[in-house]
């Protein structure tokens, strides 16, 4: 047994080495960095940094820009995820039930934005949403004075959410489609025989059986949305007035300024938030599956 164990460890060693170097080491290193005052001036003398305990974390929460980035990220996640799930689920139901003939075409069409370069997509959306862009031009045709989508602090985040929903609803659609196809058709048929209409079947059969699938989609979206970066980076640069600065964008800026320790601390705040929310989702997922 002992020899078998050694052989197993020997076989696992290459993976463990790679895992340690590329996963554990950066994670631990950046965690350690967050308890120092390391900046770009220390890159050649990293041992000269001072240990400052939780000072970086305290400074972060006293920083108006960081607090705003937290709130912005919460807004993006809190509003963006439910809308993405509802739209994705609606698309899945439509593709699964209502559009039988061109199902493959619609499936590919709705999924295409997911696999398109986010930078290219964001640039196109930015031009579309400019004050004199195509969206406002089209609204003007029907007599509507469109808002300043990307330069009005009230509209900038909703604009980014609209683009993000457009891009990610296809992912939820694919996941939900798989879930829908796993629901035994006998259940739907039996309910129909008992007189249940489409709405009742959706509420009483489809949605309850799709819950694990939806929760899985929610977990995936949560992790992705909490780390939103490219969308504000390309479309608004975090503005106007910081209204779209996400935590990831804040971290990027801190590293750009050479404030490595502050950036590392902000990254760990994001890690903790992501882990906490994901844990809640997984707990819900597990309890639903078990029930």
């Amino acid at each position: 047994m002992q020899r078998q164990g050694l052989v197993a460890w020997a076989l696992a060693l290459p993976f463990l080495a790679i895992f340690a170097v590329f996963m554990i080491l950066p994670l631990v290193g950046s965690l350690a960095m967050s308890f120092t005052d390391m900046s770009s001036r220390d890159v050649r003398t990293p041992f000269a940094v001072n240990l400052v305990g939780f000072d970086q974390y305290a400074a972060l929460f006293a920083d108006e820009r960081f607090v705003q980035s937290l709130l912005n990220t919460a807004y993006f996640v809190g509003v963006g995820i439910p809308i993405t799930i509802v739209v994705g689920l609606a698309l899945a139901l439509a593709v699964d039930a209502g559009i039988a003939r061109l199902r493959a075409v619609f499936r590919i069409g709705f999924f295409a934005p997911v696999v398109t370069s986010i930078v290219a997509v964001a640039i196109v959306w930015r031009f579309m949403l400019q004050s004199d862009g195509i969206v406002n031009s089209m609204l003007a045709v029907v007599g509507i004075d469109g808002p300043q989508w990307l330069t009005d602090p009230a509209w900038a985040m909703p604009s980014i959410i609209i683009m993000t929903v457009w891009r990610n609803a296809g992912l939820i659609m694919i996941i939900c489609l798989a879930g829908l196809q796993a629901i035994p058709p006998e259940l739907q048929e039996a309910a129909s025989v008992d007189g249940a209409g489409p709405w009742t079947r959706l509420r009483r059969i489809t949605l309850p059986l799709l819950r694990p699938t939806i929760l899985l989609g929610a977990v995936l979206l949560t992790v992705g949305y909490l780390q939103m970066f490219e969308e504000p980076f390309v479309m608004t640069g975090g503005g106007p007035l910081g209204a779209t600065t996400s935590v990831s964008l804040f971290i990027y800026e801190q590293f750009g300024f050479g404030d490595y320790a502050s950036g590392a601390a902000a990254a760990y705040v994001l890690v903790v938030a992501t882990a906490a929310i994901a844990a809640v989702w997984f707990r819900m997922l597990r309890s639903r599956v078990e029930s």
Partner: protein, 425 residues
């Protein structure tokens, strides 16, 4: 029971190992090295910023021909990423041999002990435009070599102005009147293109306004920021009025293309560096530019009309493997002949002022305006904290421009941040 000590060791070892990656042997920088007149040898790794690889290409050919045992490999890096990339490379022990970056980024690398003093015999510092040469120095030692300089001019659609019966504005008030008259001809409601927001170069716009109002970002010996002053308030108020009174678009440059916007008439006027001239001409040809675009010195405030001055600057990282070849390459780029050829190839304004006597450059009307503007310029404060403070200036200026704070409160907030950051040395 064994887990806690193991975890502790892993934590410590990992943290120390990561922190020590690529660390230099002693972290100390010696004084300037000396290079001889022998040909360069070996591979020279060069990073340029913002598309300057194209500017460099013809010179590399000549250099490799003159130094047959040397080869130069050039990689262009996005301008805004250069400092991050270079500091990361320094930390990882993979720094290139030579970097070309903005003048304002040099202090950050000096503070990180990431660049070497300029070797003796590379260039006679007295031949370089004084304002930019001084900005490369720390305690009397130069760490960078400016290659070409760039100052902002005020460019406008000459045909629009003619149509409206206007001449180029020379003062702040005239600019407002000029813009007011151009609101109709400009296809976009706001005639001026002015940077706004944290992702645009607002600091480079506010610094000259501050100078035009009679202030300066730092005291005379660059040891303290002086930004909560009546002059700064006046500069911020003027900046804010450009947006609040509808002269400048709320989406700033919108990450867009000022040349294209000006040429299609979306905007009527913009502040831009002299690099714009060859770019515009390449797009539409010199004749159309001549008839449609004019550039003048920037409008003056109550205390004059200083404009922003930058410079593309060469620096050799401390850990450069082939620093000898790198310094020899710089030397080849800073000869009078090479600087004149730089003008021929790119129409950039060379950093060596003697090259300005080159007859074709003397006859260039655009650069005549630029040289006149160079009589009155401001540069970014030559301290490491400037880049971070510039972002705060952008954030606070945007608040003024959108009417969510007063110029006085913004100036105070900027000074608070400046005090918190210090100079960064």
């Amino acid at each position: 029971m064994k887990r806690a000590p193991v975890l502790t060791v892993v934590l410590l070892v990992s943290a120390l190992a990561l922190a020590g990656c690529g660390r230099a042997d002693d972290g100390e920088i010696d004084g300037p090295v000396t290079i001889d007149d022998s040909p360069a040898t070996g591979e020279i790794i060069v990073w340029t910023a913002g598309g300057s690889d194209g500017r460099l290409a013809p010179f590399i050919k000549t250099f490799e021909s003159d130094n047959p045992e040397a080869s130069v490999e050039v990689t262009d890096v996005p301008l805004n990423e250069m400092v991050t990339k270079v500091t990361s490379a320094i930390a990882a022990g993979t720094a290139p041999d030579l970097v070309l970056m903005g003048l304002a980024d040099i202090p950050t690398l000096i503070a990180a002990e990431g660049v070497q003093p300029v070797a003796e015999g590379v260039v006679d510092a007295s031949t370089i435009l004084d304002d930019v040469q001084q900005a490369t120095e720390r305690e009397g030692i130069s760490y960078g070599v400016p290659w070409f300089v760039d100052t902002r001019l005020f460019c406008y659609r000459k045909d629009f102005a003619t149509l409206a019966g206007l001449s180029a504005p020379t003062t702040w008030d005239e600019l407002l009147a000029f813009s007011e008259s151009l609101k109709v001809p400009a296809l976009r409601e706001s005639p001026l293109l002015v940077p706004i927001g944290a992702d645009e170069p607002v600091g480079e716009f506010i610094l000259p306004l501050l100078g035009q109002a009679g202030g300066a970002a730092m005291n005379a010996d660059n040891t303290e920021y002086t930004l909560d002053t009546p002059e700064m308030v006046e500069a911020l108020e003027y900046y804010g009025s450009l947006f609040l009174e509808g002269h400048a678009a709320a989406d700033g440059t919108a990450g867009g293309d000022p040349i294209g916007d000006a040429l299609v008439g979306r905007i009527a006027a913009f502040y831009v560096g002299t690099w714009i001239i060859p770019a515009i001409e390449a797009q539409v040809g010199p004749q159309l530019v001549e008839s449609a675009v004019a550039c003048t010195e920037v409008p003056a405030g109550p205390a004059g009309n200083p404009s922003y001055l930058g410079a593309a600057t060469w620096a050799v990282p401390t850990d450069a493997a082939n620093f000898d070849g790198a310094f020899k390459l710089i030397r080849s780029l800073l000869t009078l002949e090479a600087q004149q050829e730089l003008y021929d190839q790119t129409r950039e304004l060379p950093a060596v002022t003697a090259a300005w006597d080159y007859p074709p450059l003397q006859d260039d009307p655009w650069l005549t305006t630029a040289r006149a503007q160079l009589e009155s310029v401001v540069i970014a404060p030559p301290v490491p904290s400037w880049n971070e403070l510039a972002q705060t200036i952008a954030v606070e200026s945007e608040k003024v421009a959108r009417g969510t704070t007063t110029a006085q409160d913004a100036a105070t907030a900027i000074q608070v941040k400046a005090d918190e950051l210090g100079t960064g040395w």
